[in-house]
Symmetry: D2
Subunit: 283 residues, 4 copies
Amino acid sequence: MIELGPNRYGKSAIRLVKVIRGPDRHQVRDLTVAVSLEGSFEAAHIEGDNSLVVATDTMKNTTYALAKDHLDGPVERFAGTLAEHFLGFEQVDFATVTAREHAWQPIPVPSGAARDAFMRDASFTRFAEAEARRGETRVRAGLEDLTVLKTTKSAFVGFPRDRFTTLPEAADRLMATKVSATWAYTPGRPALDYDALFDGVRRSLLEVFAEHESPSVQASAWIMGSAILERHADVDEITMRLPNLHHWQVDLSPYGLGNDGEIFVATTEPHGLIEATVRRRTE
Amino acid sequence: MIELGPNRYGKSAIRLVKVIRGPDRHQVRDLTVAVSLEGSFEAAHIEGDNSLVVATDTMKNTTYALAKDHLDGPVERFAGTLAEHFLGFEQVDFATVTAREHAWQPIPVPSGAARDAFMRDASFTRFAEAEARRGETRVRAGLEDLTVLKTTKSAFVGFPRDRFTTLPEAADRLMATKVSATWAYTPGRPALDYDALFDGVRRSLLEVFAEHESPSVQASAWIMGSAILERHADVDEITMRLPNLHHWQVDLSPYGLGNDGEIFVATTEPHGLIEATVRRRTE
Amino acid sequence: MIELGPNRYGKSAIRLVKVIRGPDRHQVRDLTVAVSLEGSFEAAHIEGDNSLVVATDTMKNTTYALAKDHLDGPVERFAGTLAEHFLGFEQVDFATVTAREHAWQPIPVPSGAARDAFMRDASFTRFAEAEARRGETRVRAGLEDLTVLKTTKSAFVGFPRDRFTTLPEAADRLMATKVSATWAYTPGRPALDYDALFDGVRRSLLEVFAEHESPSVQASAWIMGSAILERHADVDEITMRLPNLHHWQVDLSPYGLGNDGEIFVATTEPHGLIEATVRRRTE
Amino acid sequence: MIELGPNRYGKSAIRLVKVIRGPDRHQVRDLTVAVSLEGSFEAAHIEGDNSLVVATDTMKNTTYALAKDHLDGPVERFAGTLAEHFLGFEQVDFATVTAREHAWQPIPVPSGAARDAFMRDASFTRFAEAEARRGETRVRAGLEDLTVLKTTKSAFVGFPRDRFTTLPEAADRLMATKVSATWAYTPGRPALDYDALFDGVRRSLLEVFAEHESPSVQASAWIMGSAILERHADVDEITMRLPNLHHWQVDLSPYGLGNDGEIFVATTEPHGLIEATVRRRTE
């Protein structure tokens, strides 16, 4: 016997820009949204019965339409509103909305900041996810594409050596990574200030990255993650994905030159990949 | 209390080419490999103790070294050998190896097929995954980047209409998707012929895609998935990820031209995304 | 004094799919088109006078509209028709149309080849360019994304050595490249069979790549280019861009293993880049 | 008769990071370098004679070696030093070095700015090019990947309408582009302050983009370019490549909603592409 297993469907890569034209200055919200639904879609698959299949085109239209009235605060709140909207369809048990927000900064001009001209700040992408089921909506926030580098305070020593181990011990090395992190907010807290929380977590992550002594990327993940949980009571858990973007010191001795931590070749292939979740223990 | 949750680490994007120099012709194996380990790595995170941390550089070296003697059959088998190797470390409970194999075809020359010159066949990427734990290794195969298109036998009608629905019913539309599919082989079967199975599943998928009448991408996923399970007894389940790459018919009427399913604009943003697993029911 | 120098404008990334629904089988044409115009656009720049500025949106519309009646033969001919159309605007002196054609193959089914279902063949991209000015249209053809590899018959020896040279001589190495080539057809030839010519040049390029002994990528460019000019009288010149995608032999001796041209690491950064034009001498 | 036409070769995608470890703070220089040579390379192509072929591997080594002592000021100066080095080979007539510099900012920490930890600033990429021939080195600077958007002060009206024109006149539209610009410094000027000039041109470009009224992207290119030449006497000419990244206002009327310049769909395919050079007239 053959059966349908887990399934979901939706619309991805919905590109949405909203301009909020205030009296003094404009504001730009720039999102890439994805909607995904789970529910009673067995007949759609097995019998080709579309009577319950909300069209993905409708999901796209809904995203633009709800943005008109509801995209006026933190992106997490808009994701939640949009996800909960789809629970209005009886056949939907579970709606997930993810939104990546691309930041725009006012262009500096002699008089201060331009009121209606912006430049893209590609230093990171803000991520939000709302998972709505009847009775509960869970919210995660996150950041992606945040590339950071430490020029010291990173080591990797004391690891086991087998027949295939050639890596020398490194008491002082460069450490670079492109952070992807998402964190869950404790459910049931009323009215979190998502913008302030996002800024706080991002600032904490950067600060701890800058200041800690790293014995390994694994330890760095723990140190950053546990610091974030200690500093931010509304954060329940954080999952980090940290590629180790190796920088290899170049051997300049054939040219009669020394190289004491100065000249490196930056590489992306291959790369280490460290993934860890740090969370509050529930007893 | 803060604790370490799920964690794993490894090496990704290991680019490996093996040339097998047979007496009559050469053969090229071109893989992108990733290794990931789970196990007793709590001290590494929390205490910065690297004594159990197999270096990701060692994983890379091991991949190249084992390819010398063991990359001589299906990529699934190499992935399994490599994953099982890492169980030789006591601290490792679970080792996952994924390998993407890039196909090369001999270049046609007047005398037949070149014996030592090849062209990349980028029509799809073959995927293999081995998950090894003590006592069992599970193998999945898959394919990615297989882009297909039907010019008829695809419809989407009878879907619900709400305030935000503007999509017209389509009795005959283009359907295009870039297939990602992975399937699990039933554990415990001795000596599967992974190459023949891969070719068979790929052929089945293409044939059914070509021949079926599609009432929706969801139904197509079911029809293709259940056909594969019916035809291939060693396949236990298959998971498909099918973006709906919309082709919109262009309105040429402003120019006094008709357009009866002839001229389309191909789009990738936004796209539908349909994901489904089809599996054998275990009672 | 400040003046306007060279300038042009147009529309890029126009994605166009045409389905030709023949009685026995369908055919898919899948193009990415760019249009670019040069002419009397000084007032547009300096005075903001748009009265002569053909909208790029109009270029897009024209591309779709002309495809309806004119995209029924070689892509080079469609590029020419489209480029010449824009000379209908008096202010246009020079119109360039480039088109990349993405190939689709019928899916093999038990009864032969599917008549209305296709798979993308991503082994190369066909390129066409038409440059129209009053009285003359010049046509180039080309191919991109053709990745090829030789497992022998490639060497690199006898190069000069200076203080910074560490590369050993290589009497037998792997050679891999991703070919970009464009070639010009002799102007004034009536009614070239562009499809047959494209296939012929592509076949020649592959054959010569496979069969020649390469002392360097530079020499390979000359050998392939001059062979193409010798074999194809309608080709006037050919320009090749050949990245040298290095494959480095892995040192397996630390693991007690030999490696005689078997195990390589494939790299893309950094890469050599060899560019050369081969042409008929005009005396 | 067949002959060799224009040709050049070199090494691309050389990824170089230099850490300058000052007493108070570290500094990171992160470059992607390409070297390209032209000269007496006919024998290399036609006769397979490598005796004059500087290995591209040597170019890479040289880049790292010269970075040790010479990458301590503006990237333009390093590009010039590196290009001029290759004129030391008699057979080289012309050496081009391009360098893209990726910016890193110190991470903000409670005590101020981290002295040895950095975050990547991906808001733009700085570009430098040095073309060295005996007796003269020409320097260009540039920027890439600078994405900007105006929410007003952009119009496009008064353009010609033909059979294929459907675009409505737009008195007030969004204008977005991803600027690529390169500019030439007047040769023969002693000791330009390349860093200050780069910052100045970038600031001018942003300011003028923000403040001007745009009747078309063509006019914007002229307004920005001529302003830069007026403000910066050492800049001889500037070439801009400005894709018009269309933002289409979404029709929300089917949902009973207005949309007065609020909700847009951001697109990249197709896009307008405007290219123009603005230069000093030489009489």
